[in-house]
Amino acid sequence: MEQLTQQLVNGIMLGCLYALIAVGYTMVYGIIELINFAFGELFMFGAFICIALTSSEISLFGSMVGMPQISFFLAVIVSMLVVGLLGVAMERLAYRPLRNAPRLAALISAIGMSIFLQNLAQSVFGSQQIKFPDIPVFTDSAGMAKAVTVLGAQVTYLQLFVVVVTVVAMILLSLFVNRTRLGRAMRASAQDKRTAALMGVNVNGIIAVTFLIGSAMGALAGGLYGAVYHFARPDMGFVPGLKAFIAAVLGGIGNIPGAFLGGLLLGMVESLGAAYIPGGSQYRDAIAFVILILILSFKPTGLLGSPVSEKA
């Protein structure tokens, strides 16, 4: 029982992180039908920028540079802004020129972008893993994570923080998409770009906003992930990026509540699978891909997705 609750807690937290990245995948797919594989790398940059800003010094291009050592919360916000703008620049340079090209071209461009960003991180931060500084609010004087016990499971303050932040971000995002003028323009552009333009929507601007939000969410996930697992590394975004893509497909790509649901389910299945399947922890990653194959075989529209043919 205790183990079950503990695994569920871990799974929910992991699922929240997947969900935050999955939102970017799903929003961008919804509007330009592109799987932006570089979200995993934006996630990684989110973690690095958080480490850089919260440390007293960091190695940049091989030489130590003094750093402002600001609070973790402020660092997350700054990294969301910086990575958000990086996402906008990425769309402008790597995807917009290919907007009317065959879809495969844009997909290959996304993979290229992903490799480029990984290499960029390697040359800026080095290829070694670097340590995430302890966050005072979440750590006691002995350097241990502060935690509460819920139904026998240890829940760290940081885990609680991840869940709360994710839920709040998801609620704000749904309100934005469903209740605001800009959100309405985003949905209209996703359904019919040409007609949206006729209504006065600057569709390129809307696409840029979509990348800004999706990338900032990825950076948020990266900062939190780095804090939870105490590290950042240039290749750290690859697997979580793929998992988030699976979460988006599981929930129904193009659907924001679906991304949240898909992320949570994937996180929990993975945690429980690793704990209860004999020798399961070695197959952690395989579990996610088995889910992907099953979903694509039996319900390719995902749990909450609508049939693709729905066009008037």
Partner: protein, 245 residues
């Protein structure tokens, strides 16, 4: 057959020698036409004659390779599509192009997208007065409406921009005869409320009945232009577009 109630007169829109291509296909071969304020002008012609291409070139969805489009003192060929609606030009596009997963109300709100921060109550009222069925359906997704209802929604959506010039692309397409009659009545009503209208139609007879002037398009060129009364009795039009005799 009705003229505008009050014609303030003067050219609102003028196309001169407009050439538009789809890749290497020469779709508009030097179109020149004009619309005066307060008029209903119709473009008639067969499928593929270039009627919709003309509308899409005016609204900026397509770019002409050469020629000029002057609208109220602005050269439209340099204006991005999303900006033309701010200048008072709105379009009910061919095939209606309703946002299928947005409610009727949201579709109408999208029509008023260019009027940021303005009060829309009166505009909703006006659209619901013209098309009462839209009020009944206001929270239903646009994609679930019938063809006729979608047509009304497309027209209502275009009206929400408070256009000075309303461009209607095949408003009668696919509608039951009773509805066709109703749609043309509403077009006249909108015009009498002060909106200039450019109407593209395959239903040449009905279009000429309600309009002031008309242009006949054939394979990308204007072959005839006159008052609608004159076109209704012109042998060429009767032969080709009004089913002979």
């Amino acid at each position: 057959m009705s003229g505008p109630v009050e014609s303030t007169g003067g050219k609102m829109l003028e196309l001169q020698q407009v050439h538009t291509y789809y890749g290497s296909i020469h779709a508009l071969k030097g179109i020149s036409l004009y619309i005066d304020r307060g008029e209903i002008v119709t473009l008639i012609g067969a499928n593929g004659a270039g009627k919709s291409t003309t509308l899409n070139t005016i609204s900026g969805v397509l770019r002409p390779r050469s020629g000029s489009i002057a609208y109220e003192g602005t050269e439209l060929t340099k204006v991005p599509a999303y900006h033309t609606v701010k200048l008072g030009l709105s379009q009910s596009p061919e095939g209606r192009r309703i946002f299928p997963r947005m409610s009727v109300k949201e579709n109408l709100e999208m029509g008023a997208y260019s009027r940021r921060g303005q009060e829309l109550k009166e505009d909703f009222q006006r659209v619901y007065d013209l098309f009462p069925v839209l009020l009944e359906r206001q929270s239903q997704p646009g994609g679930t409406l019938s063809g006729g209802e979608q047509q009304m929604l497309a027209m209502g959506r275009a009206l929400m921009a408070r256009p000075k010039l309303l461009m209607l692309d095949e408003p009668s397409m696919g509608l039951a005869p009773m509805l066709v009659e109703k749609i043309f009545e509403i077009i006249q009503e909108i015009n009498q409320q002060g909106t200039t209208i450019l109407l593209v139609e395959q239903n040449a007879h009905a279009a000429l009945e309600v309009s002031d002037r008309g242009y006949v398009l054939e394979t990308g060129s204007i072959v005839l232009s006159d008052t609608s009364q004159a076109l209704l009795v012109s042998p060429l039009v009767r032969e080709a577009y009004l089913g002979g005799a």
